[in-house]
Amino acid sequence: MINRRGFCKKALLIAGGFAIPVSALELFDPKKLLADKNDREKVRWGFLVDTYKCVGCGFCVKACKMENEVPYDASVTRTWVERYVLTSDGVTHIDSPRGARDGFTDRNISLGSEGMKEIKDEDIAKAFFVPKLCNQCDNPPCVQVCPVGATYQTADGVVLVDRTWCIGCGYCIMACPYGVRFFHPVFHVAEKCNFCYHRITKGMNSACVEACPFGARKIGNLRDPLDPVTRIIMTERVEVLKEEYGTKPQLFYLGLSKEVK
């Protein structure tokens, strides 16, 4: 029969004994070892949008929908273009009808359920277009909150969704500050821009980059100092969206204005 003192002694011994092998796990973190052994990943995908060049034609949205099996008429899209019109009274008007799939064919600004608003040419102080897509964040909140690990970050930085494993809880959609995620109307799982991962990993450009007639969209490898995208990011004044959320976005903008949401 074991007495109390004996039990306490043995329990401490066992706990101590277990602590040694467990601490070894910390000493030899497999990920860290791998990182020490090899150099860092050779590829980190990044995206550059030059808003000065965007004219809001919507070819990128169209191309994206065709390429990525997002139903053409569904009111969701992996990428979209926003139109900003600032009037001389200091008011900002923003719209993106159908995600600008058909471009901006109407001069009036869409107010959603409130109808359309007409703005006279002479009232416009400045106006510009801002294309949006997934920021492939370095610290992606969507990956953090997925309860089953169906959305994950690849070694080259792109966040993907496993359509066979997503349970469709929508937590990732809620966690994304940029509103890039939605439920796929056919597969009924979370869906988002993945920089056309199936194309870029084969040395091609993403569909939207390919479709942009003005070169407003560019994709590149941020680890390659000679990559034209990396060069621009390193040498010019670029901005990211909603830095305050700490998501470390890897989608960079040239010519971003403070009005951009």
Partner: protein, 417 residues
């Protein structure tokens, strides 16, 4: 049609992919887990802290808490786009997600409540089996009952005084462990919302605490209402039985016992209500005072679009009116029922204003979304995420409670007044 399009109305600039993705089922989810946790805390007040006056309602609320458990899972399942994959939360939990804790917390809690119930009812199981065995000429139903209860005893037949005392000690320990687990079960539901940094209304460290307090409030309120309802039914039955057997307790005896239990419970309800409201107001004042970037849009939602829902329905009818009703001198059953029902409405509105209110504005801070609750379903989706889906979730625990009360009688014979 895209998920969410059927019930979302967008105004001004909203990102193209934004819809009200979390609808009434996600309002029901914290409401139901809140009721589970609250009912359990109420029962623990007797088992752990020995509040003798609550003895009658303690067993009642424990059974109710167990009946509410499956119903707390139901809204989550109904809201999933892939409900058949729901089990993955248990199989491949991704531990950086607050939802992944669900499997563990929920299972732990179910085991605790289940085993506590077993200890509470073990003596009853044994006594039932013994009395059924001694009976001659048993009917088929009685043979089945005997068999069923034999299984429920799990082979523990000892009902000597020492054994029963041991049971009571086990109940006390389980109830003690159960309180933090119940709080965790609900606190983490608050954490699910509070930790979403992309949502300006949800993100506050107070959220889990606010959720726990309102959970206890709603749990106690529902227990009071259901307790009164069952007592009223019992009274009707006693009146009818009393005519045949005058030795049974009279309605008067039941009535005085009822009002005593109820006034005692109401005291705890008010305590937790004060705590919940103070925290909610603190959150509101803090947001207004610090007025960070998101305050402009939050203010227009809180003081503009949702003013009626927040200040009239939630704080007015859900808090202030019941507060007055319950604090009035000379409490009557009628006043208490009205008060507690209003409290339940208030807690429901609080969940609504958090879940739907949090999606009432766009992440662009430049537009609004309105949720049009689907009343009459025209597809399975509008059933699930509409009024009828919510009603289904609301009714299930009462059906379960009724079935369970057939097996586990809430009022044991030797304790009848």
């Amino acid at each position: 049609m895209v998920h969410g399009e059927a019930w979302t109305v967008k105004e001004l600039f909203v990102y193209p992919n934004e819809y009200i993705y979390w609808t009434i089922q996600i309002v029901m989810y914290p409401l139901m887990t809140g009721l589970v946790a609250g009912a359990f805390v109420l029962s623990s007040l007797y088992h752990v802290f020995g509040v003798k006056q609550l003895k009658d309602i303690a067993r009642f609320s424990l059974v109710f808490s167990f009946a509410l458990l499956p119903a707390a899972m139901l809204p989550l399942l109904m809201h999933l786009q892939q409900p058949r994959r729901g089990i993955e939360i248990m199989l491949t939990p991704h531990f950086t997600s607050a939802i992944a804790a669900f499997g563990i917390v929920f299972t732990t809690y179910s085991i605790i409540v289940g085993s506590e119930l077993w200890f509470v009812y073990r003596r009853y199981f044994v006594e039932t089996v013994q009395s059924l065995r001694n009976k001659n000429g048993r009917t088929f139903g009685e043979i089945f009952r005997c068999f069923f209860y034999t299984i429920l005893t799990l082979g523990a037949w000892d009902i000597s005084r020492e054994a029963v005392e041991k049971d009571e000690r086990a109940v006390k320990i389980l109830a003690g462990i159960g309180i933090p687990v119940a709080c965790f079960l609900h606190g983490y539901a608050g954490f699910i919302f509070g930790s979403v940094k992309a949502n300006a209304l949800w993100m506050t460290p107070l959220m889990p605490v606010i959720f726990i307090c309102s959970a206890v409030v709603s749990g106690i309120a529902l227990c009071i209402v259901t307790y009164i309802a069952t007592m009223e039914m019992r009274k009707l039955i006693t009146v009818w039985k009393h005519r045949q057997d005058p030795s049974l307790p009279t309605t008067e005896a039941l009535k005085s016992a009822e009002i005593q239990v109820v006034t005692m419970t109401v005291r705890y309800l008010i305590m937790f209500m004060i705590l919940a409201i103070s925290l909610e107001l603190l959150d509101l004042i803090f947001r207004g005072y610090t007025a960070v970037k998101s305050w402009d849009i939050l203010r227009s939602v809180i003081y503009g679009r949702d003013f009626f829902k927040i200040f009239i329905l939630q704080y007015g009818f859900g808090n202030l009116v019941p507060f007055i009703l319950l604090l009035l001198p000379r409490p009557t059953i009628r006043k208490v029922v009205a008060g507690t029902l209003l409290v339940l409405v208030g807690v429901f509105m609080m969940r609504w204003n958090v879940v739907i209110g949090g999606q009432a504005f766009s992440a662009s801070f430049a537009g609004f979304m309105e949720y049009r609750l689907p009343i009459w379903p025209h597809s399975f989706e509008t059933y699930k995420e509409g009024l009828l889906g919510a009603l289904t979730v609301g009714i299930v625990p009462f059906i379960l409670f009724w079935i369970m009360s057939r097996i586990l009688p809430i009022f044991l014979p030797e304790e009848r007044h």
